[in-house]
Amino acid sequence: MAPKTLYDKIWDAHVAHESEDGTCLLYIDRHLVHEVTSPQAFEGLRMAGRKVHAPDKTIAVPDHNVPTTPGREDPSNMTEDSAIQVAALDKNAKEFGIHYYPVSDVRQGIVHIVGPEQGWTLPGMTVVCGDSHTATHGAFGALAHGIGTSEVEHVLATQTLIQKKSKNMKVEITGKLKPGVTAKDITLAVIGATGTAGGTGYVIEYCGEAIRDLTMEGRMTVCNMAIEGGARAGLIAPDETTFEYVKGRPHAPKGAQWEAAMDWWKTLYTDEGAHFDKVVTLKGEDIQPVVTWGTSPEDVLPITATVPAPEDFEGGKVGAAQRALEYMGLEPGQKLTDIEIDTVFIGSCTNGRIEDLRAAAEILKGKKIAVKRAMVVPGSGLVRAQAEEEGLADIFKEAGFEWRLAGCSMCLAMNPDQLSEHERCAATSNRNFEGRQGYKGRTHLVSPAMAAAAAVTGKLTDVREMI
């Protein structure tokens, strides 16, 4: 038999129908749903008199525009349009009989954090959600990607997706990471190397020693931003680290089913000699703590660098860099470590897990913030509870951070957590687009440790000087 990639293996196990032209109906094992991209899909079902095909494989949680301040169970504490979307999800979840974690449930949180935490996400699965960061779940060796609302409706109605197979790219990170360098720096460095369109049309498999050495949480951070590199999905082959993480989760298989699952999961790796359409290799030891200077995640530089000039680029990127510098209020040649920060945001599906909070707290211990405001928004109610138990919440609060309830919050600023005009933020989220964190707000993407370092000094800071 021809050697297969991990992607080939998962794909082949999920083709429910293949047409002559290669268009497939791919069967979906898990469908995650949130309040912003689903109302029109449920409405479509209702209008056509259709049901949810597999309600037991469909999991809903409100996260994108819920407030992260206390009292949010009461809809009158939400803006009117948020309340309408949350109420619509409540109603749809009940009416169509799908799994649901309302804001009042301690398990509520960002959909991509809740899925793995509850054991809904398992190796070898197909996972979709009406959200581009569904790529996160690829960390388990699951084929996971974002879909639009029409596709949400299609999956709800048929439990399949119309798909053609993507090309396959291997991204290998060899060797070890240096101290102070994290999964976030890996994923940003990869995008810096390939560009935001470098992965378009591909499914990426991340491999190499530096990836193997990561915890599941770090792997989720890496896969989370596969989409920022344009890829359809990111994958990491499951191994002992994966199985260890999954075991005992509420919806993970138990007993004989666990054994049967393990038998299959252990076959989920890329065979020796399997073909990749593109290969990118980075050396782990070359990766430094990085930060974005512009308005695209590919605008990434080591923290030790200076702000580039538009002339440093070619083609359409010259104009884009010009515009980005203007938007960000930066001058070419300025040292990145001289950039003053107003706000620090720690959270999101990229970096809102317990290890992220630990890494930030480690830097913050016994220190005070030197920025105007700083907030931590845990990725789920359970992450929040654990951080409180470990004493991390106290470290954050004593340093001057706001300690919020779980949700997407300032990652996309759909709720009241927004930057004001020209407010400059060091954020652990994944997008630095214009207006992403608030109208004319300025975002620098960093790792949790780098965000904490910036909070302490009031500037973008090389975290290696603080460890």
Partner: protein, 201 residues
């Protein structure tokens, strides 16, 4: 879904690269539970100032482009969030075709589900079309999906590729869900086999 067959119209030039879905429709407009009415907020932050006044320079605010039905845009158009509100807003504005050198994956797929034709062309062809679009309302570009051809105002013909299935659906205005449901026997058979092979799912 609305059919797309052949269209002759004004093309608006937007040479900026990496136009993301946050630029196409900022998130403040995602709090709707409907699909329609987003056209007035298409490109909102580029199109209006904070007081809601039109920004003169922005292409769709210029008199010759107000009626544009085609967009010629820079590389990697539609990157970022998966929001289908982006194609809904484009369609609601009246644009039915976007031409670029490349598109982000999810956006590209979302277009077809909403009666919009995204066309990928080479850099040279793109430069040609961009120049044509810059001529304003005197230059009308024709897009013929059946023939898979774009014709410039000077009569130059550019052939383009399109997935056969997607073309078929767009030409006939077919709804994916209905088509898939015709294959429900295959889905049922797959489920029966998969629940044996992977009962833990």
């Amino acid at each position: 879904m609305d059919k797309f067959t052949k269209l002759t119209g004004i093309a608006a030039p937007m040479p900026l690269v990496n136009i993301d879905t946050d630029m196409i429709i900022p998130k403040v407009f995602l709090k709707t539970i409907k699909r329609s009415g987003l056209g007035v907020n298409l490109f909102d932050e580029m199109r209006y100032d904070r007081q809601g006044n039109e920004i003169e320079d922005f292409v769709l605010n210029q008199p010759q482009y107000r009626e544009a039905e085609i967009l010629v845009a820079g590389d990697n158009f539609g990157c970022g969030s998966s929001r289908e509100h982006a194609p809904w807003a484009i369609k609601d504005y009246g644009i039915r075709c976007v031409i670029s050198t490349s598109f982000a994956d999810i956006f590209f797929n979302n277009c077809f589900k909403n009666g919009i034709l995204p066309i990928v062309v080479s850099e040279e062809e793109h430069a040609l079309l961009m120049k044509d679009a810059e001529k304003g309302s005197n230059a009308r570009i024709t897009v013929d999906l059946e023939a898979q051809e774009v014709t410039t105002s000077d009569g130059e013909v550019i052939a383009f590729e399109v997935d056969a299935f997607k073309k078929h659906c767009l030409l006939n205005g077919l709804d994916d869900i209905g088509l898939t449901m015709e294959k429900s026997a295959s889905i049922d058979a797959f489920e029966a086999q998969a629940s044996q092979a992977r009962p833990w799912v």
